[in-house]
Symmetry: C2
Subunit: 98 residues, 2 copies
């Protein structure tokens, strides 16, 4: 079974690590317990809507971006290819702007 909380946890952890923030820093900025955030990142606890909002703020990333990442990861697990938002390089020569 594909579990959204696992993919969400990975997305949140990846974003945090990209920013070089520690669990403690994000937990503190989001006013959530460090142990809880750690469990969310590991996909062991569901993040409530309020927690997701606070963590997105702490990461300074729009929730819509986080959800789009989760959607893409879930889609890959479902075997659905994402629609690219730019023309892939190998097809670029098929397009010419006037």
């Amino acid at each position: 079974m594909i579990l959204v909380r696992r993919e969400l946890g990975d997305v949140l952890r990846n974003l945090r690590l990209q920013q070089g923030q520690t669990l403690r820093q994000v937990a503190s900025r989001a006013s959530v317990a460090l142990g809880y955030l750690s469990e969310v990142e590991r996909g062991q606890k569901e993040a409530s809507s309020e927690i997701l909002y606070a963590v997105a703020e702490a990461l300074d990333v729009p929730m819509s971006t986080i959800l789009a990442d989760v959607s893409e990861r879930v889609g890959r697990l479902e075997g659905i290819m994402p629609i690219p938002d730019t023309v892939p390089a190998e097809f670029l020569s098929d397009f010419a702007t006037k």
Copy 2:
């Protein structure tokens, strides 16, 4: 505060209504309590990952599609324009395939 559960509830209800299914039918197919599904649709309860999986199955809609819809709705609330997955009609004349 933008709450994901409200947007998710709207997306799930819209999908169900588009299919002409009743709450009872979806709850039964997903093996979730009718009252719980009703609260999820009204954005009053968080859907666990397991419930979301079961409801998506009952609606026969990929979870990634549901999450993409939620992301787009949240993005609109955040004031972020979604990236169109096709060229909007008004810009079509700017593109020519060779």
